[in-house]
Symmetry: C2
Subunit: 332 residues, 2 copies
């Protein structure tokens, strides 16, 4: 972590890359609104804005990065299709982007991924190959498929074009805050491999260098928080599962961490119960369907884990793909 | 129904009244976004826009009309407070508006109103008085309370200031469509007493006289459809309940129908099962929590009951206050 007001020039993704990605995705991505529910602002004593990426095509931000990446594949290589490994949201993003661009997509997913995410991925016309989280190496499986078919691998986060694509949502936050005549003091987004928060940090700090970008993680899956404190990439120590199925990467990406280690202010966490409460709050008070992994920033806010008093705070709700039976249990 | 391109001049609410209401409510109401989910447009073969009033303060459009009406009460009369009768959404709108304006609110609600609506109404500091739908006259109960306390009655729909307040959402639709360089061909909104659709029609047709304004109702609670066809106010013939608890008024309002009979193109209905399917679709594909009564226009659209092919269609999702156990059953 360096002086927060100084944006280094040597990063692998720049705000110009995000600007370019914004042009590429504009015809197909949703420009999601910036919401400001009074019920939330009044509750936490801050001016809170929400970026509801559950309204994005495929129900999560992942379409942005996937479409930007797939659009960069030369026409000559598109016949081989694309391969991705993902627990569900990246899968849908890649599948939907491939469908628009007339490419074949194969997605390697863990066998325990939420049913809705598997079904929706197939719904976009992708082939789904399941693997066991314990014992099988999804990158190896994807690599093997890519070799056999001449397909292009679409990494879930550790790729400059993917990061730039996710950054477009940070760019929209910056634009919308500027249009309101406001500067964001704090921007909070979840991280699994760190592509979303790296893109958001890149775009937001280009316009608002003073903004503190905070990464939110499940309590035991706090590899970004650990790594920021250590100054180098560290894996989390979790052994069990988390309700945040989208946030289970073991360690920050290399490229993403080279950005995040320079641009992020800190990490915060939320407990499993706090995440559950945030999903229920979003249902009851915001009327939004947020998946657990997408609600971890909101959970940290509601649990008082971020010092927001009197500040302008933007929370990214990164997705809304949650199985109906789990959602029903969470809101009951 | 008259020539759709001719806006009569003698209506009890004008677009200037809506403009005035927009100024009054601006500091406290949410300017809800206009969404355009590709999944919906692709499914029905039209360019579909949604006005998600579930994102409005209190979870429904009712705050708009209530706040506009309460703001008009002279300071000298505010000490007596306000009284309203409502099955739930108007109740919350009045309670929340009264709280902001430092007035006491008493709400007369049916004993079978959804628990969440009763609890939320109390949560805004209002006193809730329950009555039995069969056998008790809510207007008489409200009138009695008003006389005793010197309170002002806030009608749920048959009031020019309430209608003008609801019209502000139509005004936002017109503004946002114009900003996109588009003209709405069709605008669909639900009706109980008809205040919402009257306000929407007033605002939209002032800017887009060619737009067809369509009222959506539950199959058996089709009093607006019946009345439009008859050319005078007619009650529906339903005897049972509908899942659309917010849309159970027996007959269009006098003032609302004097507007709607001149500005509306037609009525459409949706069956109970079509409404259930629409609530589930909104959860699964749109990631929005829509209450059954708020989803009736979407239900009619998804069921193919409106000729939308190739058109620009705006659907008002009027609210999202639905009990968690019912919602869980609908999305399972």
């Amino acid at each position: 972590m360096t002086d927060q007001t100084q944006v280094p020039q040597s990063l692998p993704v720049t705000s110009a890359d995000v600007d370019a990605a914004a042009k590429v995705i504009a015809p197909f991505a949703v420009r999601t609104p910036l919401l400001s529910p009074s019920v939330l602002s009044e509750r936490v004593g801050a001016r809170v804005f929400l970026k509801p990426e559950l309204l994005q095509r495929t129900g999560s931000f992942k379409f942005r990065g996937a479409f930007n990446k797939l659009s960069s594949i030369p026409m000559s290589a598109r016949g081989g299709g694309v391969v991705a490994f993902s627990s569900g949201n990246h899968a849908q993003g890649v599948a939907a982007a491939a469908k628009i661009l007339n490419m074949q997509a194969t997605i390697v997913m863990p066998a325990d991924a939420p049913l809705s995410k598997r079904e929706r991925t197939k719904g976009y016309g992708a082939e789904v190959v399941l693997y066991e989280r314990a014992g099988e190496d999804r990158e190896a499986i994807a690599g093997e498929i890519a070799r056999k078919r001449g397909a292009t691998i679409v990494p879930p986060y550790d790729d400059p074009l993917v990061i730039a694509g996710q950054g477009t949502l940070g760019r929209e936050i910056a634009e919308d805050m500027a249009a309101l005549g406001l500067a964001p003091d704090i921007v909070v987004a979840p991280a699994s491999g760190g592509g979303l928060i790296a893109g958001v940090a890149t775009a937001v700090k280009a316009r608002f260098p003073q903004a503190a970008i905070i990464v939110a993680e499940p309590e035991e899956y706090n590899d970004h928080g650990l790594s920021l404190r250590a100054g180098h990439r560290e894996a989390h120590h979790a052994t069990g599962r988390t309700i945040c199925d989208a946030l289970m990467a073991a360690i920050p990406g290399k490229i993403t961490f080279s950005i995040n280690s320079q641009l992020l202010a800190q990490g915060v966490t939320a407990s499993e119960d706090e995440v559950r409460a945030a999903v229920a709050f979003a249902y009851r008070e915001l009327k939004l369907v947020v998946e657990p992994g997408g609600a971890v920033g909101l959970a940290a806010l509601l649990a008082g884990r971020i010092d927001v008093q009197g500040k302008n705070v933007v929370i990214v709700l990164s997705g809304g793909n949650v199985d109906a039976d789990l959602f029903a249990r969470l809101v009951a």
